[in-house]
Each structure stands twice: as structure tokens, then as C-alpha cells.
Amino acid sequence: MPTIIEVSKLAKDYNGHSAVKGISFAVERGEIFGFLGPNGAGKTTTISMLCTLLRPTSGSATVGGYDIIKNRLAVRQSIGLVFQDPSLDERLTALENLKFHGMIYGIPRAERGRRIDEVLELVELSGRRHDMVRTFSGGMKRRLEIARGLMHRPRVLFLDEPTLGLDPQTRHHIWDYINRLRVDEGLTIFLTTHYMDEAEHCARIAIIDNGELIAIDTPEKLKVQVGSDVIVLIADDNTRAAIEIQEKFAVAAKEVNGELSLQVEAGEHFMPALIKGLESRVTSMSLRKPTLEDVFLNLTGRKIREEKLEGMDQVRSRVRSKRRQQR
């Protein structure tokens, strides 16, 4: 598979603090590539550099064969982008948002109408085309943004936290579109997420923490690193239990959020042995297959935390309710 994104020692400093510390990787054409990491790990900074919105401090990258510093307009023409925060004009209709997008991307008038129909159809918003965007729900706005990002037939679609703040049903819906796009259009999809279950959809995942790439591989291979099974238990005294497990079974138990997690081979045989041999009082114990959360835990010793609606989204909803009052 030919590569479509090539990143070499890309770095970004903000006033002496390095947000991205010289990362290198490549993305193949037609794959879903996921950038996984906690908040503030450098995901959005990396995406902003690849989309030419931020100038890197050092290093280089090409997107679709174009240099992100020397050939910015060509990069922009060949990518579609769905931002973490909505970027629609709420005082325009869905149709107008798409029309203006088509215009600034230089799509000829005759072609424009056809493409608008096409993408609205894809995200099932044809019936709402003449409605103001401010009447749309969060999920509809995100779908409209995906439609807009696809209108100029980009070669790479960047999705920055595409399902952040959406309900599970809408998330599922949006993933359906993403998968269909990859299959039907041969589109390359580059997305960032901190939802573990979403990362499972990706062909390959790069795990980023503190501005550094700490792993890059398929979800399956990443999980194999962890071991074949994970046992999670809660003891009366987790610290003592961890020491005991280490001494008797030579297995390291990590304590996170009041739980001990053990990465083992053949867990179904290990568990009975553990129950029999352990003197510490255990209140619960479970066996499961490893997830990407375990991979992240294994690599960093921490969990990726769930993100709440914060920052701009809050300001926005406050401003909106204020405006409504004024009317």
C-alpha cells in the first residue's frame, strides 16, 4: 500500500513547553488510522499541523504528497476536516453552509448542486437542507460537518474526536458512515479519539502520550503485547494483595482506581489457582480479554480518562442561552 501521510520528526513548542516532541510515522492510503491518547497528549496539535493550521516548530510532513509547510494550499485542497468543536455557521441553512464550502473549494456551480445532494443523502439530512443549522442537534451538526468535509472529494479525511459529546446511538451511526466511506470511496481516514471502543475500528493505532508516540500497530497486535487475558480483582487491602500475588505467582499487579489488574496467559486456569493460593481477602474478581485501555495502562501506568464537555462547548451553550433570553 502506498503511503499518503508521511510524518518525520514533527515537533511543536508553545513558549518553551513542547506539545509534540518530534514524532514520525506514516499512514497508508485507504486505511483508518487512529490517534489515541489522553487529553493534552498532543493529538489536536498534531492534526492542526498536518492540516496546515499550525506551523511546526521543527520537522516535516507530507499529506497526499504535498509538503505541509511549502505547499499549504495544495494540502488544504486534498484534505477534509471535521473539527473537535463545531465550525458551522449556525445562522445559515445546511444548504448554504455546503454551498459556501463548495465555493471556497472551487467546485464549479453545476457540479456543486449535485455534490450537495450527494453528501446530504449520505448523512441523511436531505430533508433538513433548508433549516437553520442552529436548530440542529449535536449529532446532526456533526453529520453535516462530515458531509461538508467530503464535498470537495478529499483524499484524506481528518476527524478530530468525531463523536465527542454525542450519544451512543449517534456515535454508532457516524461510525457506519466512516466505514462506508473507506470501503466505497477508498478514502483515508485519520482520526483522533480517546474512546477505546472507537479505536477498535481503526486498522492501525498510534498511541500518543505527553507529545510522544509510545506505540503504533494494529489493535490486535497491541493487545497481544498485554497478554492473552486480564484478571481484575478488588481485595480488602490491595497493596498487600499485590505483594502477595507478586511473591506467590510472579505476576505484577497494577493498582488503578481501587482495582488490581493482572495480565496473564490462560486466565481461565490461572484464576482458580489464584483463588486457592491467595490468603488476602478478595471481594470481587473477574476475567476478561485485554482492551486498548489495558494497552495504554501497560505502557503508561495510567488510564485514559473520560472527557467531559468543557471549554468552548460550555461557553457556547452559555452564550446561546443568554441570546435566547435577550430575544
Binding site: 455557521d89 445562522r91 459556501f100 471556497i104 472551487g106
Partner: protein, 252 residues
């Protein structure tokens, strides 16, 4: 170049689309200047008549009120860039394959067109103020309105590009917009009788020249030659636009 032209046109069209749709905004931003003109203007003109002046105060402030309407609309629509930034739309534009300068120019043209339309609403009430004009006066008035609008919108974009929160908006109104308006000769004569410091501020205020140009075109009262007026307004507009574009290219 084609991409840049399309970018300018698109951003212009967006401003117009939003303006035409927002009827409450058109009405509310027309009411204010009409209040100034008919309530404050009529009220003060009786005071001036008692003070021994002639009854021409309404005629005198009429071009000033048009300038006010153009000035306020220009600055407000330019400063809406801050909203675009906060609500994300600016990002969509900045990541599009059009040069940054075309974004600034498109906004400047869109904002100034809207401002001219607002000014036109005040122009319509001319007969009520006792002002009449020929077609060529009207054409010249439109040109001057557009020049004022374009230079003030560019100036507003320059301010907005440097301002990152909407909290700063009140600062703009109090420290830039109102002083500019009060010191422009829109509401009272500035040719003589003012303290020296005030006279100096009037002279360095580019809007004074726009007001003077509009006033001599519509009601025939003048301080400077029309050429000086137009040159200052155009020069200031060009300067503000170049600065705004430069700032936009560098910082957005």
C-alpha cells in the same frame, strides 16, 4: 488568483445573506440613528434656535447621522470575526484552499456593503429633514459612504484580529467607537471655537474627513476640499486594510 477571488466573493455573499435574513437586526440598527436624528436632533435644534442660531441643526447633523450608522455597522460587523473565531467558523475558512488575505478582504467588502445598506436606510428619510439632492450628488454620497465603510471595516478587522475575547468589545466601543464618533464633527461644528486639544483630535480622526465629505456633498457645508477628504479616507482605509491583512496572515 481565481481561488482568492472566489474566497472574497464567498465571504462577501455570506455577510449579505446573513444581513438580509436578519430583519430584526436591520430594524433595530436603523432605529437608533433615526432616534438620534429625529428626537435628539429636533430637541437640540429648538435649544439652538433659542440660543440665537438658525434652524438648520437637523440638516447639519443629517450627514453626521448617516456616517454614524455606517461607522457603527462597519465596526460591529468587522468585530463579528471574534464570534466566528469562538464559534469555529473562522477555522473552516482558514483551512480552506484560499489565501488568508482574501479572507480579510472578503470580510472587509462584506462588512462595508452591509454598512452602506444601513446608511442607505437613513438616506431614504432625506425629505423629512428637508434635504434634497440630484442624482450625481446621490452617486457621490454612495461612493463616500462606501469609502467610509470600507476603511472603518478594515480598521475593525485590524482590531478584531488582535482581540481574542468578546469581553474586549466594550473596550472597543468606549475607547475607539464613541470617541471617534464624537470627535468627527458629526453632531456639532468643529471648524472653530473648540479647545485646541479637541481641535487636534478632530484633525487626526480620519472619520472627520468622511463626515466633511458627506456633508459638503449632501447639504453644502464644508471645511476641507473634497479631494483632501477623499484622500484621507482612502489613505486610512488602505493603511488599515494592509495592516489587517498583514496581521491576519501572520497570526491566524
Amino acid at each position: 488568483m481565481k481561488a482568492a477571488m472566489m474566497g472574497i466573493y464567498t465571504l462577501w455573499l455570506r455577510d449579505i445573506t446573513r444581513f438580509v435574513r436578519d430583519k430584526p437586526r436591520i430594524i433595530s440598527s436603523s432605529v437608533q440613528p433615526l432616534l438620534w436624528l429625529f428626537v435628539l436632533g429636533l430637541g437640540l435644534s429648538t435649544a439652538f434656535v433659542r440660543g440665537g442660531g438658525d434652524n438648520d441643526y437637523m440638516r447639519f447633523i443629517y450627514p453626521g447621522i448617516i456616517s454614524m450608522s455606517v461607522l457603527f455597522t462597519s465596526i460591529f460587523s468587522a468585530v463579528s470575526i471574534i464570534w466566528d473565531r469562538e464559534f469555529g467558523f473562522l477555522k473552516e475558512v482558514l483551512v480552506a484552499p484560499i489565501p488568508r488575505w482574501s479572507v480579510a478582504v472578503g470580510r472587509a467588502l462584506g462588512g462595508s456593503t452591509v454598512a452602506v445598506l444601513q446608511g442607505t436606510i437613513i438616506l431614504v428619510v432625506a425629505p423629512l429633514v428637508g434635504v434634497s439632492f440630484t442624482f450625481s450628488q446621490l452617486a457621490l454620497a454612495f461612493l463616500i459612504m462606501f469609502m467610509i465603510a470600507f476603511s472603518m471595516t478594515s480598521f475593525g478587522i485590524l482590531i478584531a484580529a488582535r482581540m481574542h475575547t468578546h469581553e474586549g468589545f466594550q473596550v472597543v466601543v468606549n475607547f475607539i467607537l464613541l470617541p471617534m464618533f464624537f470627535l468627527s464633527g458629526a453632531m456639532f461644528p468643529v471648524s472653530e471655537g473648540l479647545p485646541a486639544w479637541m481641535q487636534a483630535l478632530v484633525r487626526i480622526n480620519p472619520l472627520s474627513y468622511g463626515v466633511d465629505a458627506l456633508r459638503q456633498t449632501l447639504v453644502g457645508i464644508k471645511i476641507n476640499s473634497i479631494w483632501l477628504d477623499l484622500s484621507v479616507v482612502a489613505g486610512f482605509g488602505a493603511f488599515a486594510l494592509i495592516m489587517a491583512v498583514w496581521y491576519f496572515e501572520k497570526h491566524e
